[in-house]
């Protein structure tokens, strides 16, 4: 596990251990260095002191060339087991006696070297002059093995290791005890936080254990919880109020909608009833009193009937438009080809002799409200039929363009078209680009189309040129 992902308890333990270990190690190393230096120094001094004693003692032996005595003096070195070799050279630099006496003559330097003791290889050796007053009587050579020092080092290493183990285990125990002061409150806090996020219960509070930073952290945490709880409460209250308001408004809207529906319903009925009366009785006039009406009277009754019928259409279209706006759409899969064929049969039933040339692509199915989309096809196809009716050879083309996420349908005719500068008025209710004398219509059909397609999340647009026909596009999302 990488260090940053470790539980805080282990992190603390590791850090403390690392610090303790490093400090102990640094201390041990510096002590060792200091110890070894002072040991070397003292070894040197010790050997030099022994040398001085031997030199002083051996003056007479050298002067009087008493080998036996000199040997005895050197033999005293037995008391120093680490001094392994000693040689006394005479005034001329010739080996006079050596210690131990059984030593081979090539085991020591044949001539004295430079004065002083030094460490060489794994031993300490050196030369010391034997002087009496100013008189140089000879030279002493001594060699000491470093067993002493190695032994000291070994002891030191053992002691250091023991001290390290002891201090680290002591540190471990102390850490185990003391880290609780830090880790336990943090862990408790973390546990509380986890519990809260799991159960979404903001009424839980963390227990404060100390007055240090962790204590204030706990306080801050609890304060935050308090605030969250209060905010939640306020939010809930607000939500409830909002919901209540929304449902109130919805009810109001629904009522309004119902009223509107009832209103348009009664308009439909009540406006139609008088119209029916007008048409019906004008018809009676025409049929039953035809012999008593002159041509002018008959022309007038026809005008009355036409206007009345127009009024009827107007009412129908208005009703359809307002209903389209209110109704929710229910999307199902629409078999577009079948729908278009059916609409064509309905819209142009009298085109049985093939006056209009229909160019119809194999249009794909789409998703949409079946009645609303049918209304769109009815309006657009009937428009195409209407505005190309005066052409000698009307051609109506119905096709589609597949795009990412949507299908675009188009209905193209070669009829009278319109001026594109009035395009923006095209889909507005009661807006007409042609006079009623030329083409009948209420100016509601395209407005309905626009409304239906907008409700489906699609777009409607048109291209046209005067006298060259028009092309209407609408898109439906997949």
């Amino acid at each position: 596990m990488p260090f940053k992902d470790m539980p805080i308890r282990r992190k603390l333990m590791r850090i403390i251990f690392l610090i303790c270990g490093t400090a102990l190690l640094a201390m041990s190393i510096s002590l060792f260095i200091y110890g070894s230096r002072s040991f070397r120094k003292s070894s040197l001094e010790k050997l030099s002191t022994i040398g001085k004693i031997i030199c002083t003692n051996s003056t007479a032996a050298l002067i009087f060339e008493n080998r036996q005595d000199a040997k005895e003096i050197l033999a005293a070195l037995k008391a120093e087991p680490h001094v392994v070799t000693a040689v006394l050279y005479d005034e001329k630099g010739k080996p006079f006696v050596h210690y131990p006496s059984e030593l081979d003559t090539n085991a020591f330097p044949l001539r004295p070297g430079p004065e002083g003791f030094r460490f060489a290889h794994s031993r300490l050796e050196g030369f010391q002059p034997v002087v009496m007053e100013t008189r140089r009587l000879g030279t002493l050579y001594m060699q000491s093995d470093l067993g002493d020092m190695y032994e000291e080092f070994r002891n030191y290493a053992i002691i250091t290791t023991l001290v390290m183990i002891l201090s680290l285990s002591l540190a471990w125990m102390l850490t185990r005890l003391l880290q609780k002061n830090i880790s336990v409150p943090i862990l408790a806090l973390a546990g509380t936080a986890r519990m809260i996020s799991d159960k979404k219960d903001y009424s839980v509070r963390a227990v404060k254990r100390s007055k240090d930073e962790l204590g204030s952290l706990t306080d801050a945490f609890n304060d935050m919880l308090e605030q969250i709880q209060e905010q939640n409460l306020a939010l809930n209250e607000f939500n409830q109020k909002l919901e209540q308001k929304v449902s109130e408004r919805t009810i109001q809207l629904e009522n309004l909608n119902k009223e509107l529906e009832a209103f348009s319903y009664s308009i439909s009925h009540d406006l139609r009833a008088p119209l029916r009366g007008i048409i019906g009785f004008v018809t009676i006039l025409e049929e039953d009193y035809t012999s008593r009406l002159d041509d002018e009277a008959r022309r007038i009754t026809t005008i009355i009937k036409n206007n009345t019928m127009k009024m009827g259409h107007l009412i129908d279209d208005l009703l359809a438009f307002s209903r389209m706006g209110r109704k929710d759409i229910e999307k199902t899969t629409i078999s577009t080809s079948a729908m278009v064929e059916e609409v064509i049969r309905e819209v142009a039933p009298d085109d049985k002799n093939g006056h209009i040339q229909w160019v119809i692509d194999s249009i794909p199915d789409v998703k949409g409200d079946i009645n609303a989309v049918r209304q769109v096809w009815i309006n657009l196809i009937s428009n195409a039929v209407k505005y190309s009716a005066k052409k000698a050879a009307p051609v109506i083309e119905i096709g589609f363009i597949s795009r990412q996420g949507e299908t675009i349908f188009f209905i193209k005719d070669n009829g009278v078209g319109f001026d594109e500068k009035y395009k923006h008025k095209l889909f507005k209710v009661f807006q007409r680009l042609h006079s009623t004398d030329d083409f009948e219509g209420t100016g509601v059909g395209l407005a309905i189309v626009e409304k239906v397609i907008a409700k489906h999340g699609g777009r409607v647009w048109a291209e046209a040129a005067v006298g060259k026909g028009a092309c209407f596009y609408f898109s439906l999302p997949d």
Binding site: N57, T59, A60, A61, I63, F64, E65, N66, R67, D69, D90, K92, K94, F96, M132, E133, T134
Partner: protein
Amino acid sequence: MRYVFVTLLLIINLPLVAQAPLSREYELKAVFLYNFAQFVEWPPTAFSNSEAPLIIGVIGKNPFGTRLKDIVSGEKVNGHDVSVQYYDNAEDIGTCHILFINLPEAKKREQVLQLLKDRNILTVSDAPGFPAEGGMIRLFTRDNKIRFEVNLEVSRAAGLSISSKLLRLADLFTPSKNS
């Protein structure tokens, strides 16, 4: 060991052989006389001042020739120059620190010793029985080497302090052994 010894002899003897016919024994004894000065401490009264010379005297026939003089010339012991004096009679002995008595007759030696009894003079001789006569150091030959015997009692009585280093090399005379 033998080799070392021979070498030593060669080194010491070579110049002497060239100079004058002198016995190997006295050659060494002259060196000994001089070296004794280094391991003996005289009371301060033995020197008239700190720069007064240390005098090595010879009474009786001079066995060293000029050798002794050669050895000590230019040498210093404890800051004192070393000089050599030769005496015919004991009465002639003035200031003296080491005296080599080369008198074959025991009677004459005893006279000299008697005369010098209270003076701080280290008496040396190679006469047998010299310590028993009241002399301080007797030189003798053993195993072809010059050795010496010391009568500590007499030297102490004369206010001389002989270094233990020297004593280590000496045979100590004990009156019971010789009486």
